[in-house]
Symmetry: D2
Subunit: 344 residues, 4 copies
Amino acid sequence: MIKAGIIGATGYAGIELCRILLNHPKVVLSGVGSVSFEGKKISEVYPALNGICDLVCQSTDEVIENSEVVFACVMHGLSQDLAKKCADNGVVFIDLGADFRLDSANDYKEWYDSDFKHLDLHKRAVYGLPELYRNDIKGSKIIANPGCYPTSIALGLFPALNSGLVSTNGIVIDSKSGVSGAGRGLSQTAHYPNCNEAFAPYKIAAHRHTPEIEQTLSKISKKDVTVLFVPHLLPVNRGIISTIYAKLEENVSKSDVRKAFENSYKNEKFVRVLDDGNVANLRDVKCSNFCDISIHIDDRTNTLVIVSAIDNMVKGASGQAVQNMNIIFDLPEDMGLCFIPTTF
Amino acid sequence: MIKAGIIGATGYAGIELCRILLNHPKVVLSGVGSVSFEGKKISEVYPALNGICDLVCQSTDEVIENSEVVFACVMHGLSQDLAKKCADNGVVFIDLGADFRLDSANDYKEWYDSDFKHLDLHKRAVYGLPELYRNDIKGSKIIANPGCYPTSIALGLFPALNSGLVSTNGIVIDSKSGVSGAGRGLSQTAHYPNCNEAFAPYKIAAHRHTPEIEQTLSKISKKDVTVLFVPHLLPVNRGIISTIYAKLEENVSKSDVRKAFENSYKNEKFVRVLDDGNVANLRDVKCSNFCDISIHIDDRTNTLVIVSAIDNMVKGASGQAVQNMNIIFDLPEDMGLCFIPTTF
Amino acid sequence: MIKAGIIGATGYAGIELCRILLNHPKVVLSGVGSVSFEGKKISEVYPALNGICDLVCQSTDEVIENSEVVFACVMHGLSQDLAKKCADNGVVFIDLGADFRLDSANDYKEWYDSDFKHLDLHKRAVYGLPELYRNDIKGSKIIANPGCYPTSIALGLFPALNSGLVSTNGIVIDSKSGVSGAGRGLSQTAHYPNCNEAFAPYKIAAHRHTPEIEQTLSKISKKDVTVLFVPHLLPVNRGIISTIYAKLEENVSKSDVRKAFENSYKNEKFVRVLDDGNVANLRDVKCSNFCDISIHIDDRTNTLVIVSAIDNMVKGASGQAVQNMNIIFDLPEDMGLCFIPTTF
Amino acid sequence: MIKAGIIGATGYAGIELCRILLNHPKVVLSGVGSVSFEGKKISEVYPALNGICDLVCQSTDEVIENSEVVFACVMHGLSQDLAKKCADNGVVFIDLGADFRLDSANDYKEWYDSDFKHLDLHKRAVYGLPELYRNDIKGSKIIANPGCYPTSIALGLFPALNSGLVSTNGIVIDSKSGVSGAGRGLSQTAHYPNCNEAFAPYKIAAHRHTPEIEQTLSKISKKDVTVLFVPHLLPVNRGIISTIYAKLEENVSKSDVRKAFENSYKNEKFVRVLDDGNVANLRDVKCSNFCDISIHIDDRTNTLVIVSAIDNMVKGASGQAVQNMNIIFDLPEDMGLCFIPTTF
């Protein structure tokens, strides 16, 4: 049994990790760390866990000491020293935050106003999007688990960009995320009477996931990609829909597109390319590790519309983190992750 | 592997059974029956099942032929002949409808305006509330799976009535159910703009679950119990909260109550009696087979307030049905049912 | 034009008062007070008011100085000195908080842990439930605007208690309120992922509105009434449903009940007694000053079930406050309050 | 007083017209027509109207006979003969459906699979978007009230296109509409458990509002505009957000854009151009006739992002229809339409 610990266990990604890891046949949850609730049972914070998990929240150090793999769900800026401590102790480190996602210290500085502290760790960190970087993940001990929006977008665009079917110019990404994406921390944004029966974009063309999205898309296309990314806050608990608009290159046929998508994902358990006539809906991936993708061609404007749906807390965070863990520890990649989406 | 078939698989209880049975380590889903969608893949009706289950909807007879156990999710009145056919074929029959829940043909006539057709089957049918009737279930081949409201109410009141702590007179039950309880069939009741941001009771003191509730409570108390039961439609997808008001008998102390509840359920995996100071919330049982119960005493009016929370589609329907199957087939009772509630 | 000011204008009751008063043909909004947002435009806090109201938030004193009537939407304990200041300046004071609702200093001490400061003011304060106390309100300059739950409950029970149709013993009140009732202040209770798709009671038999409810019901019945009151948090923005259970006295007929309700409210514009066969729904009173009441008799248990629906922010707070103002200033009681409920 | 009748009064646009017209100081609601509910009180269909409007649903002919202006809320294809009858009787006809919106019979044939029946009427019909076509509306007796999406989009893009600030090529419009847009008719689309906690686009690049949108944008730009329009179904009752992406022409500055928007709407009561730093939210226009517009420039991709928010049932349907009526009957354009948005 792998001893897995969670730092920041009482946040939403942390508690979702608990839900997944407690179900995992090869994992024992070795510790849950929480600064705010140290000394309290996690089931006091989340009564859903009553009788299922009675672990008491510990300090960061205690969690690291007792674990072979540590998942960190903390604010950007805080993961780097945790990663160092894990590296020094031979503990696999899977970061659900942003500290190791960007290759460029400049980008990190520009978008997060922070600095790279341990350059060697940054070099060894692997961007943990299994469908694209499975082989790199296998041998790594530091994983930058992708952001929720970037996951939905990279998986949605990968086949089209990788096969050169669409222009790398003028890509527009209109994403919509459920409120759990805003976290457990209190804010007017997530205050019920303020966001229920409401809807709007936010951080228009200014969201911190932008450089991460562009980095991945650029790697796929092997040229610099600049996108226009506009996230919206959706009055649902879970899920992300990214509606992606990309100009088709000349002479690309509908069947070229379909083939590219089907070939890209034919061996991927967690990516489902929908048949023509269907539209990806976040309802159909809820509480699961699936990414559903539907593809639509508008002949009138020669545009490919890609709809990519994930559960922001599973494939967009904790499920993908466990998928990375499975790869690193040589377990079947879908172990503990075969949640069937709840249909309602 | 047990071959399990579902009749009425495309209704909400049916699809929830799919979700559970597809996950069950000792079951193979042998057939899904649907009158409305015969010949169509179930994943066309519920795209959530894409790539997970590609069974094609069959006729009732085909399902029965290929199964060792059949779950029926059909309108009342339709199960009796299905039960007969299963009995004749040696197939275990678990009815999620109302046909076998009532002992009295008169009650059935009065509340459902239908008749008992196969009296011998009615005699052999067992009311499948495992926490109360586990032993009877074990040897049975026809199970009347309890209604959603009755499940939450019987589990909530059992310890108090069984120990004679509350009066059997004047019990008031104010229940609230999520909209999935109204089923997949279209109606203004479940039309989004009509029930979102709305709330009201319905079938006040006239809901068909009333005689079922009273039958169980009467058996527990060994005297005739008449209750006032008022259900409400709650604008959420899943879950039931029953708030139950019962007069305490004289000289019953707070600790008597607590002891009765804790003793009743100390060996029950799926019933969680919450500690003092906590209140059962449907959020904390969502997508799980738990029934959470909190108990509250109002000294000013000498009333016991019991709050009982279930997921109406799991413990209130399909989860409990599988629990019954596990018992009948001598499997661990919680097999395939250890869903951790989603916290959001 | 009456100069009306609001203290605590940026809370939910305050902003709802803005919405109503800005529409009122005989009122000019003379000032909006806010401690948290002093110096800021109210339309910056609530962009819904952009271009409609550009008032800048002021201090309490400024608001009082410029007003003939002041509405106070502040935490209990803070209204008493405001009332004093208004009284000293000849300004009508309508308190949407709890400070003047209870006649008994002991009750106030017990439930709010605070003291009466200005006994003379408490004596002059009138409980502003117009349908019951219209005449007293007319001559008053200090109004205790009723709580939201108590409004729905007092209006619901008044005809039955006033006509002696139900027992004053054993009344059970199961109420459900939309989240705006929890106010604009941040809390896990109102954090979207925590209360969306969730439901539970809270402060069971311990809510501060209990003594206010009992005080009004006791006055109506002319004897001491003790009730069991259990509020629930409902995942909708607005509205309260109170489901009220009261034992019918002997020999009370269905038509006695109907007559009592219809006679009580036949001249009341804002109370609608629904015809038999209908059930009050908070949807049908949303954004309006109506209280809808439906009455249901359960012969099996000889119980009267009263369903009372209001918009907690209108008839349960700001609308009723303006209704009180209209009475005091000798305006038509419904002036500025004829909002037709939004049907969705 | 103007005698106004509604045909199709029991649909959502119809009942919203009731809500508005019953409030209008210069209108008497002369008749409500409904095929499905003829002979029934409208307050039986919508109990929200209890005691406010007790009109009995009539036949189409009865409504026309008693009205000076008729609002038609019927399926496309059914309005043309109604318009003829009104024209023959000298009754002003305001069509909330699609029959008179398109200038081209070919477009109508292509997108609605129907034919123009009365060509003279089509010639006389005016597209009722007051902010753009006020003068034409004034003298007209047949109004094609714009679709909900087209209203939000035309108002959002008008200043940019009219001033030539953006390219007419490559415009992408990602719109999201509340469920009331799907109407009162039952469908799985609007079935609560199916659309609550769900989200997806629909009719991608194939929605019937596309030719209407393009017709208006082409008129504004004086050249043919083809857009990519993708609507989404949003789990809220009311409101539309259109997020519009348009490439800025060279050398267009941020202040050029702001000036164009502010100048275009400086005299428009119902269009609010938000200050920099703010984002239009459907919450802030709910239940009102406002269109809120925020403008955002992405320097990285030289794109103008316009966010346009309306209440789909008010400015997107019934409110705008009354605005048109006001213009035709020479009343103040905002009469009966000064609803302040509900903030929650």
